[in-house]
């Protein structure tokens, strides 16, 4: 682990024991994140991206129905080896999370102020007055007009975008080094979505805070992250600098996913590219590459042997993909 890395994940596996069999929702994910870096995790429903976010934070822990293996080192602490009490101490000052639905992550019978003051008093041991002042300050930072008045309002009095800003303010209360945002804009309108994403980008820059942005929306991730990891059926299939993945994807899944999004600059009625078939059932995933049954390039080796993440392009060694048959490097201009 280098001095600069804030988060280091090695071979993380999260397995749920269900009546139908074991489901390994996150299957051997390794990644590192430096302080102040933003990472996008993209994938479709069921790809394991949300479980990954929760496993990183330790919200999903070892238990009778869950097995976690591998290592998550966050700011020097092995998250899953810590006793529950100490793990809880990381939540707030070290890592915080923003969830998808701002209505369900706020308590409807408590005022906005109560939500914020609670975290501040518990973690920072502030007195009532100081906590209130800091709450006003936090609400101002996330762009809420008339912050002092908002403290005495209830969640239902705020719009969806304002609620999400409150949730972000709560997450920021203890100055976390890492913010995990799990689909923070999915429940919001497009114009509001943009504001929230811009807000997160601004906060990351101002506070040197690292962000993991988990999303199914490739567009949301494209402009706002330094690096991106594409997940499919529990595994990271491609990772690189964001621009690299979006402009020159290596893995056939990333490529097909990008091609299936309608483009604004394309002519109307352009036929969209689709991916045949469905993601595998994780109770019995296919052997070898999990995308092989849907892949147009698949050969025998893909169906028997699981590919490892590797960088096939000498010019961009950190652009890695888990594919046996990456497109020839000569097909693209390397820089």
């Amino acid at each position: 682990m280098t001095a600069a890395s804030l988060l280091e994940v090695t071979d993380l596996r999260t397995t749920f024991h269900t009546p139908r069999g074991d489901v390994t929702a996150v299957d051997g994910v390794s990644l590192t994140l430096r302080a102040g870096e933003t990472l996008g995790v993209v994938g479709e429903s069921g790809s394991g991206k949300s479980v990954l976010g929760r496993s990183l934070m330790g919200l999903i822990g070892q238990g009778p129905t869950t097995t976690i293996s591998g290592r998550v080192t966050l700011a020097g602490h092995d998250v899953h080896a810590l006793p529950a009490r100490e793990r809880r101490r990381l939540w707030g000052p070290t890592v915080a999370m923003v969830f998808q639905d701002p209505m369900t992550s706020l308590n409807p019978v408590k005022k906005i102020g109560t939500h914020l003051v609670e975290a501040l008093r518990l973690h920072l041991r502030l007195d009532r007055k100081a906590a209130r002042e800091r709450s006003v300050d936090l609400l101002r930072q996330v762009g809420i007009p008339e912050p002092a008045r908002r403290l005495d309002q209830y969640p239902h009095e705020l719009s969806g975008g304002m609620r999400q800003r409150v949730v972000i303010a709560m997450a920021l209360a203890c100055d976390p080094k890492l913010l995990i945002a799990d689909e923070p804009t999915t429940a919001l309108d497009v114009t509001v979505q943009k504001q929230i994403l811009d807000l997160l980008a601004r906060l990351a820059r101002e506070r040197q805070m690292a962000i993991i942005l988990v999303s199914h929306d490739l567009g949301a991730v494209a402009g706002r992250t330094d690096r991106v990891a594409v997940m499919y059926a529990g595994r990271v299939v491609e990772t690189s600098r964001t621009l690299e993945v979006f402009t020159r994807p290596i893995h056939p899944y990333s490529e097909a996913l990008l091609a299936s999004i309608p483009r604004l600059d394309a002519a109307p009625h352009t036929r969209l590219r689709t991916i045949e078939g469905r993601p595998p059932d994780l109770v019995s995933p296919p052997p070898g590459c999990r995308f092989a049954p849907r892949c147009t390039r698949a050969e025998d080796v893909c169906r028997t042997e699981a590919p490892r993440l590797r960088g096939p392009r000498p010019a961009a060694p950190r652009h890695t993909a888990a594919c046996h048959l990456p497109p020839a490097a000569t097909a693209h201009e390397e820089d």
Partner: protein, 338 residues
Amino acid sequence: MAGSGKAHLRPGRDAVLEVEDLVVEFPVGRGQVVHAVSGLDLDLLPGETLGILGESGCGKSTAGRAIMQLPAPTSGSVRFDGAELTGLGGGALRRGRARLQMIMQDPISSLNPRRKVKDLVAEGLSVWGFDPADHEGKNKETVVRELLAAVGLEPDVVWDRRPHELSGGQCQRVCIARALMLRPRVLICDEPVSSLDVSVQAQILNLLEETKERFGLSMVFIAHDVSVVKNISDRVMVLYLGKVCEVLPSEGMHLQAVHPYTRMLLASIPGEETEADAEASSGPGARAAELPSPLNPPSGCRFRTRCPLATDLCAAEEPVLRELASGHAVACHHVESP
């Protein structure tokens, strides 16, 4: 935004669906009224797809449902195939709109979980009675099987399944098959892909294009995603708080759009903005970007509270839709006429 006016209508052409002055209001007690749709006009030519674009709360779904008379609009006229639908009731209404079908947003909750696919798809035939003469003498089962195949489902596989045994995308295909069963002329799609994953979304969009060609349909496609609407539509109508802002051809709409609200929607597509934009929209001085309450919409142009160009004129006077170019109409005081 106001958007009264009929500059975008095309009288004299044989529209399959004509909507005029559609108003939908919901009383919410204490004398208050939600103004969901306030004077919407549209026409739909055979074989055309009209996209209706807007944020939540702009009245796009309400408009779609009001066309179906679900519930009937407060006032206004809906003419389908030359026959007036408003004011009809009971059997006459059901007969009148049999060839006007709708696809809803959530494919799973719009299917009865206890019924099998074969019965779900055949429901229209069961209700209206099956006459082999309408189907080139084929029997009912063959007709249902052919339709399932047409929407990309394997009839033998899904025949006896119930909705919970299907994925979201497959359920949406079943919904499309159900809608096609009665050979509609017009299909109203209310956010048909917004609950689906991107790769499945592409499959359903392609399927809608195919079925439109194959069954000779016209479509009203309601959605909030600019790129999706642009891709499937011939014309796009932008709604805001129950009023029309702009109607324009989808070809080149990202370059042609002039209404400040349409521009705002286009600018909020992720990945298209600059740092300065980000500063402006997220900083503490950001302009109020919340939708005003439809209980008490702003006077004059309804968009003025969020509009960067707003002046006193916008508060005093409601802009009227006027034609800028052929097929392109806009309701804004501050857009120069060519």
